[in-house]
Amino acid sequence: MLPVEFLHQTLLIAGGLALSIPVALHLLTRRKPLRMRFPAVRFLQQKQAQTHRQLQIRHWLLLMLRCLLLGLLALLLSRPRVATSASGISFLVLVVVCLCVAAGGLAALLLWGERQGRALTIGTIAMLGVAVLITGLVYGFGSQRGALWRDEEEPVAAAIVVDTAPYMDYLHASETRLQLAQKMAAELLSQFPAGSEIGIVDSHGPVGLLSPEKGSVERTLKGLRLAHFARPVRELVKHGITMVTSSQLSAKELYLFSDLGSLAWDQTNPQLWDSVREESRSLSIQVLDVGIQERVNVALNPVRLVPEVVSAGQTVQVVVDVEQLGPARDVQLELALEQPQADLPVVIDGQVRVPTLIGRDLRTVSLDANGSSTVSFELKGLPQGTHHGVVRLRDLEDGLAGDNLRYFSLLVRNNRRILLVSWDVAARDTMDRLLLAAGFGCDVVDAAQLESVDDSSYDAMCWIDPPPLPPAVWRKATKFVERGGGILIALGPRARPPEQFSSQAALALTPAANVRVWNAVDPLALQVTDVSHRALAWVEPHRSVIPWSAFPVFQHWYVGSLQPDSQIVATYNQGQPAILDRAVGKGHVVMLTTPLGQSQHDRTEIAWNRLLLGENDDWPTFTLVVELFEYLTDSTSNQSNFMAGESVRLAWKNAPESAVYQLFTPDDTWQSLTAENDGSVRLPFVEVPGVYRLKSLLPDSSHHGFSINLSGPATQLARSEPEELVDGLQLADWQFSRAIPELRRNVRLRGSYEAYAPLLVLLAVVLACEHVAANRFYAVRGESLGSSEGISL
């Protein structure tokens, strides 16, 4: 096999076919010679007999020279790459010399006439000179480039980067993209020269180190599995470059197998590439596209629960987006929910038995071509506990199965109960109505009963305008919070004297001590400073429309330095703290430095503010208070739906410390899990999609669990073009292949020399030969007589 390959073989074939054009023209439309009447023809006749044959030969010689010109042009356009082995370079030099001598010889033969032998000699010598010059250029250029000029049998350090993102599971022609990539990579592996060091990188990251053992690399390659949590391709390439550049071998290569899915052009971390940009220029990179252009797939995006945590009896919306890639079609979408059974999951005879899924709703969704639709299911009447379910496409076979099923877990809890203690009667009534309206169970007790009341059944307390309290009350409240309860304290005019109010016992609970009353010259307005706080996240979307100035604050408590684990959540517009939050144990204390729902008819006290007066346009303060209680009653984690690769933390109120759980995973295995000291359960990295169930080994304890889903981008089938990827990666030297033969060719010619420059010089030489010969052959000029008048055509 010739050590030369052509980037554009079709151009070479087209050029070969084009060679027939001059031949056809020569045969069909031979140029007519100039005709002239001339009496002395008799003097030409004798020589004519002997030169007629020579003339015909010269016609064909000129034709051959022109064919050579065309062939060379086609050769040039087809961009031949010559293997940089000794045989390849020798072949190139041989071809160049032969073509030069052929062109020179043809031209000399054409000029054969008056100076015959001399012309032939000069022409051939000149062509040999040109050939030597071109050969020198080839060798000189090669020796300067160094890295490109290596032998194809030289060992290389190569990183095989295989994109194993979930979209690589796309099935086409009974083969997933990953299987195709593995097949192509195995083919590639067999072609590495002996002594090469090869490493594998998949979507998890590097799989081992560079290894000279092809066998072990092959086993690693075969063992590659889909990564449910896939890193962006750019990151993988970076790992590959880092791996390769660590090798001592001078020849470095990187092969990227990907179907160029959405993760391929992820640009979320632009700095990522900076550290290896220079290194990337020193190695040869091959991008191997294992994707297909026309894809047909219906995809479910991860499920959204609205709200994520519901109280018993409350309705929840299960919302899912369905996306169609391909022609319009109807699909059936089913919502199924597990039937809770107290004894499940359980292991019987080594087999895990889990509750069965019961279909709850079935919808037919009409999807436009490449369109999408949002479907909302409704669930209600669910009892307390953790419920697992799926939304799935029924009776559907498409390219990618991984996005036809989405898991969700729903936490249903009992109604939250609030213990309301208000020293301001008006505020007590307002708050009572508000909490009831917000769905909280609310019990109002007198201040005197505070010390004796059983608080274990309450989720939170609400203290409005408390006076200095006995230390026993503060200690009881502190314990309540440490167990996971929440307290909202709205300071008012009764918190006097401040030094008595902020006693040692009080400061164990409150975020800060009240120091003095701040009388504002101008009315103050609330200003939320920390929208990342869970209780105030609702403000962000409405920041510009909330009329905080309509709820002026005239007086508030000026507070001292913050206690440990405390933070300022909101301030007044002059900068003083308005709402403070302190984490105590498993619970939180939120303190307002001005009262809520203060009676406006109290003549003994100047009104501190106009917050929560029960008026119709009071929605901002109403929402504020409700969200604060949502926060305080929900101080434990309530997230039960995660994406693959995320770290999971589950916590429950009153969870026993260091409890032992059984964790049942989606692949029907189980393991023991010990809770943290705070009673929460942590799993640092969970990848496999499905339902994970936690079963407490304590008697009479409820079951917990969570769901893991593939992220949206991991199943996104939208493709990028190779050029986009390369531009994004800013790769200097790269090639692109789609199929195994193409890959084989590119691999065989890795580090090959593109014979563009010498062929261009050669083309110029042949063009000059043709020009001189043709002009000489068809010249029309008077030698000494000048005028060409009288010549008849």
Partner: protein
């Protein structure tokens, strides 16, 4: 074409100059033409004229100088009984001209006119014959000055046409001649040489004096063409496609050999062969010929 064209003032002046050189002409040209063995040829003194630079000092009449102390040269009037025939080839090939300026035929006519003027000026009867493949027109020899007009008028009316058969025409002319005559041929000789040479031998054998002006176009001599050309024979219509550049050397060799052969053969049979081409001024060519002839006698 006007008659005057062939007797332009500069030509007449040249010829007149020849006329003034009577001695030279008689002893050289005409003497040579007639050749010494022939009789009835005399030269008579005509008049004196003032010596002019360029005249031969031998012609100065020292007797007159002794009387007048002025230089006079003697002017002679030729007196002849030699009949001349000028035979002009009017075949198609004679019409060829590369420069589109002065064809071989026109060159021949000019030459014929000059010679006619000269010979009539010497009282020699001059006849005119035109031919292509046979003799077409002829004027009987006359020595009157009015005859010059007739000759020139006939020449001016001629159009070259037809194919050539020089040998046949020579034979035909030989049959027409009753006395020993001076026959001057003006032709391009583009025909087989052997029959022509045979005919010339026959003519010479008849006792006639022969001058052969071989007129070719300059392109026919130098072959200035380049590149691929197709040449068509003017008379036969035969076509030949050649690479002119490659043929030039060979062509020139052929032409040169052709002329040399004629030169050699003519010398053997006593024919004056004068090779000319249209790039040579015909009067100069004539003078050169006369000079060369003078050197031989």
């Amino acid at each position: 074409m006007s008659v005057e064209r062939y007797l332009k003032p500069e030509v007449v002046r040249q010829i007149a100059r020849l006329d003034l050189r009577a001695k030279f002409l008689v002893k050289g040209f005409l003497h040579g033409l007639h050749a010494s063995p022939f009789h009835g040829f005399s030269v008579e003194f005509s008049e004196h004229r003032r010596y002019a630079p360029g005249d031969d000092p031998h012609d100065i009449d020292w007797t007159v100088f002794a009387k007048t102390e002025k230089y006079y040269v003697k002017k002679f009037e030729a007196e002849t009984n030699m009949t001349g025939y000028i035979a002009v080839d009017k075949s198609e090939s004679m019409a060829y001209t590369y420069r589109q300026d002065f064809s071989k035929f026109q060159y021949a006519i000019s030459l014929a006119a000059a010679l006619t003027y000269l010979m009539i000026g010497q009282q020699d009867p001059v006849g005119l014959v035109t031919f292509d493949d046979r003799i077409r027109q002829s004027l009987p020899p006359r020595s009157k000055r009015t005859h010059l007009g007739h000759v020139l008028t006939l020449l001016a009316r001629l159009q070259p046409a037809g194919r050539t058969d020089v040998a046949y025409c020579i034979n035909q002319l030989a049959a027409m001649l009753k006395h020993h005559s001076l026959v001057i041929f003006m032709t391009d000789l583009l025909a087989d040489p052997q029959p022509i040479l045979s005919a010339l031998r026959r003519l010479r054998h008849g006792g006639h004096d022969v001058i052969l002006f071989h007129i070719l176009d300059e392109a026919e001599v130098y072959f200035p063409f380049d590149g691929q050309m197709e040449f068509e024979d003017s008379e036969t219509g035969e076509r030949l496609e050649v690479d002119s550049s490659g043929y030039r050397t060979s062509y020139r060799d052929q032409v040169s050999a052709f002329r040399d052969d004629y030169q050699k053969e003519c010398l053997q049979v006593g024919v004056d062969y004068v090779p000319l081409d249209t790039s040579m001024a015909f009067d100069k060519a004539l003078l050169e010929y006369l000079h060369s002839r003078q050197s031989r006698f």
